[in-house]
C-alpha cells in the first residue's frame, strides 16, 4: 500500500471521530442549566403572597451578602423534604437571606404549608402562573438559586436540597 498523505488524513480523521464517540459516552446526556452559573439575575418585581402592596426587586437583594431564592409549592412532595434544610439555614446564618417564591399555588394552601412546616423565608413571593420562574431559569420544582450581592448566580440546585448541597451552601456563605 502506497502511504500517501490522503490516506493518513483519512485514517486520522476516522480515529479522531472514534475517540470523540468514546469520550462522548462518558458525558451526561441530560441537560441541566448548570451552565447558567456565573450569569446575573435581573429585572424582576415580586409581589408578596399575602400583601399586594409589598414588593421586592433586584435592588433589595443587592443589600444582602447572599440570597437563596427557593421555588416551592404546597402540592410539591419533595419540597417538604428539603424544608428542614431551609429552616436550618434561616435560623443559623444571617449572611443568607432566603426568599421563597410560591409557584403555581393558592395563597391559602401556601400559608397552611408554611404554618405546618415552619416559615424559613424572609419574604414569600407569588408566582401564580409560573411566569416568574422563567425569569430565573427554573424548570422544575423544587429548585433553588444562590446569588451574591452582585446578583451573580453562584449555585443552582435542581430538585430538593440534600445534605451535601446544604453543607456546600454553608461553606460558600461563611
Amino acid at each position: 500500500m502506497k502511504i500517501s498523505i490522503t490516506k493518513i488524513i483519512i485514517f486520522s480523521a476516522v480515529i479522531f471521530v472514534l475517540i470523540i464517540f468514546w469520550q462522548g459516552l462518558k458525558k451526561d446526556k441530560n441537560y441541566d442549566t448548570k451552565s447558567l452559573i456565573g450569569s446575573k439575575i435581573s429585572n424582576f418585581n415580586l409581589m408578596e403572597i399575602n400583601n399586594v402592596d409589598q414588593y421586592i426587586s433586584e435592588e433589595d437583594l443587592k443589600k444582602n451578602k447572599y440570597t437563596l431564592i427557593n421555588f416551592f409549592a404546597s402540592w410539591c412532595a419533595p419540597c417538604r423534604i428539603e424544608h428542614e434544610y431551609l429552616l436550618n439555614l434561616s435560623n443559623k446564618y444571617q449572611q443568607i437571606k432566603i426568599i421563597g417564591i410560591n409557584f403555581k399555588d393558592k395563597k391559602n394552601n401556601a400559608n397552611s404549608f408554611l404554618k405546618e412546616l415552619g416559615n424559613p423565608y424572609d419574604f414569600v413571593g407569588k408566582d401564580a402562573d409560573g411566569k416568574i420562574s422563567i425569569l430565573f431559569g427554573i424548570y422544575g420544582i423544587p429548585e433553588s438559586i444562590l446569588v451574591n450581592d452582585e446578583l451573580t448566580v453562584i449555585k443552582k440546585i435542581v430538585g430538593p436540597i440534600n445534605q451535601i448541597q446544604f453543607e456546600d451552601i454553608l461553606k460558600i456563605t461563611k
Binding site: 441537560y31 442549566t33 422563567i134
Partner: protein
C-alpha cells in the same frame, strides 16, 4: 392531461383555508423551535408538560408586547442556555455546523466536474 390536473386541484379548493391567523402561526413557529427541558426530545409545541405550559405563557406575553422571534429566543437562551432552541445560532461555536454541509456539497461538485473534464481531455487526446 394538464387540464385534468388543473380540474383536480380546483375541485379541492373549497376547503376555506384562505385566511390564516398570523399571530397563532408565529406562536406555533416559536413553540416548535423551543426544546422542552424536562422531556425526552420534544418541542414545547408537542409537550404536555407543566414546563411547556409555562413557557407558552411567557412567549405569548412577549409576542403580544411585539417582541420579534429573535428577541424571544435570545431571552430564553440567556435564561436556559443554547440548548433550548432547536435552530442552532450563528455563533462562533456553530459556524462549522452550518458551513460544513455546503463545503461538502461544493467539493462533490468539483469532483464531478473534474472527472468529466478529464474525460473530455482524454477524448481530445
Amino acid at each position: 392531461m394538464k387540464v385534468k390536473i388543473l380540474f383536480f386541484i380546483i375541485s379541492f379548493s373549497f376547503s376555506g383555508h384562505l385566511f390564516s391567523d398570523d399571530s397563532q402561526t408565529k406562536l406555533l413557529e416559536i413553540y416548535k423551535n423551543l426544546r422542552c427541558l424536562v422531556c425526552q426530545g420534544q418541542s414545547i409545541a408537542d409537550s404536555n408538560s407543566d414546563f411547556a405550559a409555562t413557557i407558552k405563557l411567557v412567549v405569548q406575553d412577549q409576542v403580544q408586547e411585539g417582541k420579534t422571534k429573535d428577541e424571544i429566543y435570545s431571552f430564553l437562551i440567556s435564561k436556559y442556555g443554547e440548548w433550548i432552541v432547536y435552530q442552532p445560532t450563528l455563533s462562533k461555536n456553530n459556524f462549522l455546523l452550518w458551513i460544513l454541509p455546503y463545503v461538502v456539497f461544493f467539493l462533490g461538485g468539483f469532483l464531478i466536474f473534474f472527472i468529466s473534464r478529464k474525460n473530455k481531455q482524454n477524448k481530445t487526446n
